[in-house]
């Protein structure tokens, strides 16, 4: 299929439909509105349904109901709306319901702003709702990657029976790039024999539930989920290494920030300064093992984020105390410029300002 020029939010919506999602439940919030708008236009044409819920809380609970029937379902939102969805995401995790949730994140806290931000890292990777759960989080840096990962997210959700988050900062949602909808090799997915589609008098009732009043039973359930999380940590980690070989400073950045960091690395190279990048593509599971491939030349790590420093905690865990860990971030919707990042690298290496 030929490449088409699309806006990020629409490209993600189109990818979801391509992956077999025919039901979408959402609530308006900037900067992700083009996604539900696209769905409201396209889903009725393919016999699906778009519902504009009364709130993000209702939307995620509609997802809980629809996912329970075995359908591929999606909701999307932005930061304050994602905070509201956390209750339902926790229930989906507890009841083992596959679903894909998109967060086109913006500045916070509170109502914050509407410009791109990466301040939802904690909420998204630390289990923003109550209880002992995790879920995969994909952080695309290009629209092509957003398309590919959205399609992959549905398979991962079905395979592990888990909610999956696709997190793009506002830039990913709003900008336009050429994208291609590629046919992917599908995983061998389990039959959804747990889905509530009516017993037809032929089987025992199926029950979608996250309640277990017996603590021994709940512990068993949580250990079962944990075993699945450990499997995801083994098999589902994704990252990209960029010019890490020979680098004196290894930066860690994801999403839009990673693209700006690459520009900074290329510019530094021209000045004779060697810097590299570890780009987590999955924020959970975090690419811990990638840090084992950091070369001897590295003198320091630098976490670059559009926040006051959230992913840096994972960088420190992955680093295991081996190298000094520095931070550079812009927040509130301000986007880091390559020059600022270059200055920070020079400062770390003892030169510059």
């Amino acid at each position: 299929m030929a490449k088409v020029l699309m806006k990020g939010n629409e490209a993600i919506a189109a990818a979801a439909i391509k992956a077999g999602c025919k039901h979408f439940f959402g609530y308006p919030i900037t900067p992700q509105n083009e996604l539900p708008e696209f769905m409201s236009r396209e889903l009725p044409k393919i016999g699906g349904a778009f519902v504009q819920a009364e709130s993000e809380v209702a939307a995620i609970n509609m997802i809980y109901g629809a996912a329970g029937t075995g359908a591929r379902v999606m909701t999307s939102s932005s930061s304050p709306g994602m905070a509201l969805k956390q209750e339902g995401i926790s229930y989906c995790a507890g009841a083992e319901l596959p679903c894909v949730i998109v967060n086109i994140s913006r500045g916070g806290p509170g109502l914050g702003g509407i410009q791109p931000s990466q301040a939802d890292y904690f909420m998204t990777t630390r289990g923003g709702g109550n209880g002992d759960y995790r879920h995969p989080v994909y952080a695309p840096a290009t629209l092509q990657e957003a398309v590919d990962l959205t399609m992959e997210a549905f398979d991962v959700a079905d395979y592990y029976r888990t909610p999956v988050i696709v997190m793009g900062d506002g830039m990913i949602g709003q900008m336009m790039e050429p994208v291609e909808f590629k046919e992917t090799t599908r995983r061998d997915l389990p039959v959804k024999d747990w889905a509530t589609t009516g017993t037809e008098g032929k089987r025992k009732p199926n029950i979608i539930n996250s309640l277990a009043l017996d603590p021994a039973e709940l512990e068993k359930h949580n250990f079962k989920l944990d075993a699945r999380y450990k499997e995801m940590e083994e098999k589902e980690v994704r990252h990209e290494m960029y010019k890490v070989e020979g680098a004196e400073v290894v930066m860690v950045a994801y999403g839009t920030t990673a693209r700006i960091v690459k520009n900074a690395i290329d510019a530094l190279e021209k000045e004779g300064i060697r810097a590299g990048l570890i780009r987590p593509i999955t924020l959970w599971p975090f690419p811990m093992k990638a840090f084992k491939d950091i070369p001897e030349t590295a003198k320091a790590l630098l976490s670059v984020e559009m926040s006051t420093g959230q992913m840096i905690d994972d960088v420190k865990i992955a680093n295991e105390g081996k190298l000094p860990v520095h931070f550079f971030g812009r927040t509130g919707g301000m986007i880091p410029a390559p020059e600022e990042i270059m200055d920070k690298v020079k400062e770390i290496l003892g030169g510059g300002k």
Partner: protein
């Protein structure tokens, strides 16, 4: 010996956990009987609330979801939009439906979701131990209203059926009681009608059932039936608030 009364196939063999004198059991049975009589049990998906009937998923003999507190109408919306030819119902108490879940119930009605809601109103929070509900009567004592509910600080009890009847999408709205045999018979008829409205694709249907809570009201089961009749019915009048016109 001839069997003159048997348990409905609409319920499982699981023993109810409800307190002696609680009328949840009767209402469960009526819903189960109606689903069997309409021949739709095998294509029904129910949604249980948070509250005393949180374990309803173990009792109804059909596919079930357990919803977060108050969210049952949203969960039911998700199910019904994927499976429009199935029958979907929510079973909710007054804390669930009239307090934490007011937005969800109003908007399910507002969208005219083709689902059926069984709303059990016993004027108190049962499972958590007798706290005041939006439906608690004036002067009625609750653990969070130790002097009895006061209008000045907590307002007047919320009349959900009357409120929902103002919404066009709510095509069937009726309030019933199960404190006596005549009331139980009328309740069953209303529940049946509410499911028929769904089967005919007409819109949202709700049956509010006045129910007892001897444990948290602090009186005997027999006194509870009398208390319901003398106190709840005068404030929550029985009757039909909306029904689709014939042929429409």
């Amino acid at each position: 010996m001839a069997v003159v009364f048997d348990k409905t196939e609409g319920l499982t063999d699981k023993q109810f956990h409800y307190c002696p004198g609680c009328t949840h059991g009767i209402i469960h049975r009526l819903v189960g009987e109606v689903l069997v009589e309409l021949g739709v049990l095998g294509k029904t998906i129910g949604v249980a609330p948070v509250g005393c009937s949180v374990l309803a998923y173990d009792y109804f003999n059909c596919d079930m979801h357990e919803a977060a507190h108050g969210r049952a109408p949203a969960v039911a919306t998700g199910i019904k939009r994927v499976l429009p030819d199935n029958v979907v119902f929510t079973y909710q108490g007054d804390g669930d439906l009239a307090s934490i879940g007011t937005a969800e119930i109003i908007h399910a009605a507002h969208r005219g979701e083709k689902i059926t809601t069984i709303f059990v109103n016993n004027a108190i929070y049962g499972m958590t131990g007798g706290q005041m509900a939006p439906t608690t009567l004036i002067g009625q004592k609750a653990t969070t209203a130790p002097l009895g509910r006061q209008v000045a600080t907590t307002g007047m009890p919320l009349k959900m059926s009357e409120m929902l009847a103002t919404i066009d999408g709510a095509v069937f709205v009726e309030r019933c009681t199960v404190h006596n045999v005549a009331g139980i018979r009328k309740t069953k008829k209303a529940i049946k009608k509410a499911f028929e409205v769904q089967l005919e694709g007409k819109g949202f249907g709700i049956v509010e059932v006045l129910s007892t809570c001897p444990t948290n009201w602090g009186i005997t089961p027999v006194e509870s039936l009398k208390w319901l009749e003398e106190n709840m019915i005068p404030y929550y009048p029985l009757g039909n608030f909306r029904t689709p016109e014939e042929g429409k």
